[in-house]
Symmetry: C2
């Protein structure tokens, strides 16, 4: 099942690469529609799924009911602001060693983990401060 190119898929990928804020499918749709007014929402979903299966983008299941997408496929961790719900990349040293901690005493096999950090983002932390 080889795949053909499509203007739609390339536009979606290109748009996602300009963003650092991990948009949802709906945000991708409304923004990409400015360039291609009758692209359909189904096309956006299908291509986001395909691109993430191909490993060209990353799907983030934050547990907030809507998936987010990230064109940065390099391994990195994410932070979600409890207040404004912003999703932010974290630059931090690897915590992959927690897999070994989990594996100790576990009969099955640990193959990986998903971690999200929560708290107040820089902007929200600033605003809540007594200055």
């Amino acid at each position: 099942m080889t795949h053909k190119r499509s203007r739609q898929r390339e536009l979606i990928k290109a748009f996602l690469m300009t963003r650092r804020d991990h948009p949802t499918a709906d945000v991708v749709y409304s923004r990409v529609r400015q360039e291609m007014p009758n692209i359909s929402l189904g096309t956006v979903y299908r291509n986001l799924t395909l691109l993430s299966e191909l490993g060209e983008i990353q799907r983030l299941r934050l547990g907030d009911g809507t998936d987010h997408f990230d064109a940065d496929t390099s391994p990195h961790n994410h932070f979600i602001c409890n207040h404004c719900k912003a999703v932010i990349d974290l630059e931090m040293e690897s915590i992959d060693s927690i897999d070994k901690v989990a594996a100790a005493g576990f009969q099955g096999e640990i193959e990986g983990h998903v971690t999200y950090f929560y708290g107040s983002c820089p902007a929200c932390a600033e605003h809540s401060q007594i200055s």
Copy 2:
């Protein structure tokens, strides 16, 4: 907004306390219905939400599209089998120190994290083995 008792809520809580497998709302519903045949699905959802807000149970958002529930509110980590999708409690030493790793160099405030481990559960790892 004080709350009154209800047979339904107590039944839901009691059922959940007998389980170690982190059932979904639907599973709770179908099982609890054996004891109380005309309980409604909405009642199950409402009470699972209320109980987790009260801190009596824990809601697990595994990112698989359906929330799971756990009557064990003590801090512990979870493992999801990539094959059979079973959700299993992990007995492991604390990894809460990863919050400090994330906080280093981050301008906002890290208040906590959510982590899920993935891989092959004991049963599935066994079956896939060349014996």
